[in-house]
């Protein structure tokens, strides 16, 4: 590619010798076109043509390539792949195991939560029972106290009533006596004769209605 430019430049500058130079160079270039078989010796130094198309080196490349591939295949399939597969399955196993353990722990946590809830409910229940029992006891004591107080009050009331009745009875008797005495005196003072029976009857008759 570049030799053409080079040649053109050469011809432009050296017009006198141009023809000979160009002919020489093209001749030399033509000799370098690879012709398999002729190129066997010394192609490395000259490197004319495309190295990829140098048939002479194909056998060498193919031989060493096959050796390399076989070695690589054997090492990979015998050593590397089983190992990586084992590591990957181990990891898979570990991950699965951990997930299962986590699931188990979750289950346990849920159970513990349920037990806690149950204990809480039991305690609440018990507390309510105790409260109810206490309330019943207090109620019973209260009832007993009230009953006792009622009884006492009733007794006091009865006693008071008795005394009031007695007082009233004595007061009535006293009043009747006073009234009878006063009536007798009055009758005597007016010049009558006192008839105790009649006076008593009259006083009783007047006092019935008044004292009741």
């Amino acid at each position: 590619m570049f030799s053409l430019l080079q040649e053109a430049a050469t011809t432009a500058v050296e017009t006198t010798e141009g023809v000979a130079v160009v002919v020489d160079e093209t001749h030399a270039a033509g000799a370098h076109v690879p012709t398999p078989g002729v190129e066997l010796v010394g192609h490395a130094e000259e490197a004319a043509g495309l190295p990829q198309l140098d048939i002479a080196t194909f056998g060498n490349q193919i031989f060493w390539l096959v050796v390399t591939l076989v070695v690589l295949y054997l090492v990979l399939s015998r050593v590397a792949l089983p190992r990586i597969a084992a590591v990957l399955s181990d990891r898979q196993g570990a991950v699965t195991g951990d997930l299962m353990a986590a699931e188990e722990f979750k289950h346990k946590a849920r159970e513990a939560e349920a037990a806690y809830d149950k204990a809480l409910a039991d305690a609440r229940h018990e507390a309510q029972a105790i409260v109810a029992q206490n309330r019943a006891e207090i109620q019973a004591q209260l009832d007993a106290a009230i009953a006792k107080a009622d009884a006492e009050i009733a007794a006091r009331t009865a006693e008071s009533e008795t005394r009031i009745r007695e007082i009233r009875a004595s007061a009535e008797t006293d009043a009747r006596q006073v009234a009878r005495d006063v009536t007798a005196e009055l009758v005597t003072a007016f010049g009558g004769r006192t008839d105790d029976a009649a006076v008593g009857a009259a006083v009783d008759g007047r006092m019935k209605g008044a004292l009741q």
């Binding site: 053409l4 011809t11 093209t26 076109v33 495309l50």
Partner: protein
């Protein structure tokens, strides 16, 4: 420049094969661009199609590489 019209034609041919590589670039760009526009419409389906993308690009590029090979053959082996 005397008498070497064959070599001149050879190099002109090499230059012309470079167009083939340019057209292969168009093809590869077309593949990638269409993949991108499809992937932007439906990004969830794009991940599964990267293998197809690479196969398509490889096929498009292979033809450009063929023209490159023709250029090399013209330059060195003819």
């Amino acid at each position: 420049m005397e008498g070497n019209i064959g070599e001149l034609g050879q190099y002109i041919g090499v230059g012309l094969t470079a167009f083939g590589m340019g057209f292969a670039a168009l093809g590869v760009g077309n593949v990638a661009g269409n993949f991108l526009s499809g992937a932007l419409r439906n990004p969830s389906a794009a991940a599964g199609q990267t293998a197809t993308l690479f196969i398509g690009m490889a096929f498009a590029e292979a033809l450009g590489i063929f023209s490159f090979l023709v250029a090399l053959l013209l330059m060195f082996a003819v």
